[in-house]
């Protein structure tokens, strides 16, 4: 059954399919929103919009019976993060580049004063302060456990770019990991 037939002159879409989709939405939306929220660096509105738009795309596929193979939630999350990255790509043009776009995680002397309790907010803060595209890569890799090829496909970037972004993220995350591990040992 195609979309044209589904939404044809008789009007409504297949109620079963819609019900399926609604159930899918209700079970997965919190996760998708959470990831989009992180990818948007804590911007609620952008995350909300990206999430909704991702589900709209999903709904179209759903009604066309072109549900992605494998984990559907995985697919929605990919679209949502892509929408977030696209949003920044289109809107960043008109805003001045922040002074510290490619920021570190305040390595020097900072690790010493961290306690295990404060590592986690710092990790979030670290991610939030990354440039949008890199943040999107990081979120997909660390939170959603995408592999490089999947990230490259979801965000429409070259595999090598994904690798570079990941390399940078790893380097800068390392002091925090060390600190975290140290905190657990002591």
């Amino acid at each position: 059954m195609t979309a044209v037939e589904l939404l044809g002159s008789d009007g409504a879409a297949d109620p079963d399919l819609l019900q399926d989709f609604t159930d899918f939405y209700k079970t997965t939306v919190h996760r998708t929103f959470g990831t989009a929220y992180r990818a948007a660096g804590g911007d609620k509105d952008v995350a909300h919009d990206a999430t909704q738009e991702a589900y709209v795309v999903m709904l179209k596929r759903w009604l066309d019976n072109k549900k992605p193979e494998g984990d559907a939630c995985h697919y929605v999350v990919g679209i949502a993060v892509r929408k977030v990255a696209d949003y920044y790509r289109s809107s960043d043009r008109c805003v001045p580049v922040p002074e510290e776009h490619d920021c570190g995680c305040r390595e020097i002397g900072y690790a010493e004063v961290l306690t295990a309790m404060t590592v986690l907010p710092v990790v979030r803060d670290f991610l939030d302060r990354q440039p949008p595209r890199r943040r999107a890569v990081g979120v997909l890799y660390f939170l959603e456990e995408f592999d490089y090829a999947e990230i490259a496909e979801a965000l429409d970037m070259a595999l090598t770019t994904v690798r570079t972004h990941m390399q940078r993220l790893r380097e800068k995350l390392q002091p925090l990991i060390d600190r975290d591990q140290g905190g657990e040992q002591s």
């Binding site: 939404l7 738009e53 709209v56 986690l120 990790v123 925090l176 990991i177």
Partner: protein, 711 residues
């Protein structure tokens, strides 16, 4: 690598899980997704909600796509859907067009002329990416309209007409004479009501504008007064928008890459063409002053704001008002300047965001020069010599600025204020800004102590490409934002010589090279240097000599040495002088000469040496300080403050005794001590007796005390 990644993942996931995120309303979310999807269905060919006959007649709105291509638009606008509807044979829209005698093809032709054709239209289908924001809104409204029944042509028309973009609406309503309200009457849709522009008193209702738009209007009045226009026109509005720092036009210039300076210069030329400026013009924003063309533009701006559903008229609405004016003067001027008007409009519609209000719009007060002089004398506590020396130069600058005359390739005025700390150098610069440019906001202060190293030149004029600080020079940036201002370089002797070299070109040629590219023009600015050079020398002057000098020693730029000799009592002919003074004069000259190179010193129009205050000025300062405190008290606690006549004198004596080195600042600190007494007095009465309504400061037995003065 993988193990390490697992650790990293674990850490990030823990951090993510621990976070408290905002709530997500799942139920509302589902409906939202369905509504959004429905919009897509309407735009994407098939839907069960739209009347199938109409879909067939419009070939699933492919005719709207065709209309967009036909008018040369870049995006599908509501008017294109309207054209598609009007082309349905025997349709409702067609009959409405026919009833008002508007041939659809003529409307299409007119629309094509009204919108600048895009170079290459890429619209091939009705999709989310090819519809404009207005069309998107229309479809969104359509999706929620009359749930549960099929949408007919009238439903579409009812949501379409309020969203119709200004050129199309004007074509229909103004040129075609169509009664759009009648078109809508059958359906219960609310037509947006534009805001009322003029109040009952005939003044423009500035409350109807956003802060940025208000700043533009204030700018409009200031520019009109400066250029000597009594009647405000659209061209003046365009000029005001172009000169609004960080406003729409300035941001668009960065985005669309047009030369803003050239544009501003061009507007100035146009505004001065065939116009003899009056000496002083008082311009206000009322019905008399707003010309017919501007009034129409403002009305269009209001209509545009209402059409957008925005409460206030924003800067982008002002632009729409200007661009849609039937005479098209603004469009013509912009096109002459080589600006892509359609691009500008697109920028304003989709990309521009107004800055948050930086400052409230201040009422511009236009004073005649004599009033300004009186105000200057009355408010600036300063020896008369200084005022007398400054005023002729200020008058020259003011008159030249009013007529757009420049002093050749150099700033309008350059001053060097020397003297010990606390003698009013910085305050005088603030007053200059007020007199010359109308507001103390036009004073840009640079603490030159910050630029004391070789590297600080990067901070001052910006770093070369590739280095941190590129494009962020303080001088160049602020000069770009507001070229019409007093640039105050405070305590210039503390700056690094390299920084001074950059200033040399500013003084000499009236421009500064920005490593980020353009040359910043300072020919409309006034440059003031202040310096503590000479402070030490003055400290050595005998008390008698100080009194004789009375306040200020004024030096002509070109004859520093000679003037120094004259004023310090050394005749150039070698006449007799007090034995200690040649040393002082020589020292002073030596200090100035050793710090500033001769070519630097020669470039100042006036070099003014501020001497320590006399008793009379100090008393005036004390009185002014007390007046400030009185205003503060009355505003904060509703307490009236008064003082005996001898209080300022007492404060001066107190300050001279205890804070001799701090000059006026020390005196102000002594005034602050009075505040301490007052607050203590208020504290003591708190809760026990009725709070005093009035307090008087008196001197008793050589001490300042405060007393209730309710009677």
């Amino acid at each position: 690598m993988t193990d390490q990644d697992d650790v990293a993942r674990d850490l990030v996931q823990r951090a993510h899980a621990e976070e408290i995120r905002p709530d997500f309303d799942v139920e509302a979310g589902v409906n939202d997704v369905l509504a959004r999807a429905e919009i897509l269905q309407v735009t994407g060919v098939k839907t069960g909600r739209v009347d199938p006959e109409m879909l067939a007649a419009t070939d699933n709105f492919a005719t709207a796509v065709a209309a967009a291509v036909e008018t040369g638009a870049e995006l599908i606008e509501p008017s294109h859907i309207l054209i598609a509807l009007a082309r349905i044979p025997d349709g409702l829209t067609r009959s409405l067009f026919a009833a008002d005698g508007i041939p659809v093809d003529v409307f299409v032709d007119a629309l094509r002329i009204a919108t600048k054709p895009a170079r290459d239209t890429l619209i091939t289908a009705f999709t989310e990416d090819t519809i404009s924001a207005a069309t998107h809104k229309t479809l969104k409204d359509l999706a929620v309209r009359a749930p549960g029944r099929t949408l007919c042509e009238h439903d579409i028309l009812a949501v379409l007409l309020p969203h119709l973009e200004p050129p199309a609406r004007d074509l229909l309503a103004i040129y075609g004479g169509a009664d759009l309200a009648r078109w809508l009457r059958e359906g219960p849709t609310i037509t947006p009501e534009p805001a009322r522009l003029f109040g009952a008193d005939g003044r423009l209702a500035v409350d109807a504008f956003t802060p940025a738009a208000r700043t533009v209007l204030a700018n409009l009045v200031t520019e009109a007064s400066t250029l000597g226009y009594r009647e405000l026109s659209t061209l003046l509005l365009l000029h005001a928008m172009a000169t609004f720092p960080q406003g729409l036009i300035e941001q668009a210039a960065l985005f669309l890459r047009f030369d803003l300076h050239r544009l501003r210069a061009q507007f100035l030329v146009l505004l001065r063409r065939g116009h003899t400026p009056r000496h002083v013009v008082e311009t206000t924003l009322d019905t008399d002053a707003v010309g017919a063309s501007l009034r129409m533009a403002l009305e269009r701006a209001a209509a545009s704001a209402a059409w957008r559903g925005a409460g206030l008229i924003a800067e982008r609405d002002l632009l729409v008002g200007l661009l849609d004016s039937p005479a098209g003067a603004a469009v013509a001027e912009l096109r002459t300047a080589g600006i892509d008007v359609a691009g500008l409009r697109r920028f304003a519609d989709h990309l521009y965001t107004e800055l948050a209000a930086v400052r409230p719009t201040s009422e511009t007060v236009t004073m005649s020069f004599q009033e300004l002089v009186d105000w200057f004398r009355a408010n600036l506590i300063c020896p008369d010599d200084v005022v007398d020396r400054l005023l002729p130069r200020v008058e020259l600058i003011k008159l030249a600025a009013q007529r757009g005359l420049r002093m050749g390739e150099r700033p309008l005025g350059t001053f060097l204020f020397c003297g010990p700390t606390g003698t009013g150098k910085t305050v005088t610069a603030g007053f200059l800004a007020k007199v010359i440019y109308g507001s103390t906001d036009n004073l840009i202060v640079f603490e030159m102590g910050q630029f004391n190293s070789r590297k600080s030149i990067n901070k001052f004029i910006g770093a070369p490409p590739g280095y941190i600080g590129f494009g962020e020079g303080q001088l160049t940036d602020r000069l770009r934002r507001n070229p019409r201002s007093v640039l105050l370089f405070d305590e210039v002797e503390k700056a690094h010589p390299l920084v001074l070299d950059a200033l040399l070109r500013l003084l000499d040629e009236g421009r500064v090279n920005d490593p980020a590219g353009s040359v910043r023009d300072a020919r409309d600015a006034v440059v003031v240097f202040t310096s503590n050079l000479g402070a030490k020398e003055f400290a050595g002057l005998s008390r008698i000599r100080k009194r004789e000098l009375g306040g200020a020693v004024v030096l002509g730029a070109d004859r520093v040495d000679q003037q120094l000799h004259n004023l310090l009592g050394i005749s150039t002919a070698g006449g007799a002088a007090e034995p200690d003074e040649p040393t002082i004069a020589t020292d002073l000259r030596h200090v100035l000469g050793s710090f500033f190179r001769p070519e630097f010193l020669d470039r100042f129009d006036e070099t003014i040496l501020f001497a320590p205050w006399g008793a009379r000025e100090l008393e005036a300062i004390a009185s002014a300080g007390l007046r400030r405190r009185a205003e503060q008290l009355s505003a904060s606690f509703d307490v009236k403050l008064s003082w005996d006549a001898e209080v300022p004198g007492h404060l001066v004596r107190d300050a001279t005794r205890r804070r001799a080195d701090e000059a006026a600042r020390g005196l102000n600190r002594c005034v602050d001590e009075v505040l301490q007494l007052l607050l203590r007095a208020l504290d003591d009465t708190e809760g026990r007796v009725e709070r005093p309504k009035a307090i008087r400061v008196v001197v008793r037995q050589g001490q300042l005390t405060v007393a209730r003065h309710d009677g």
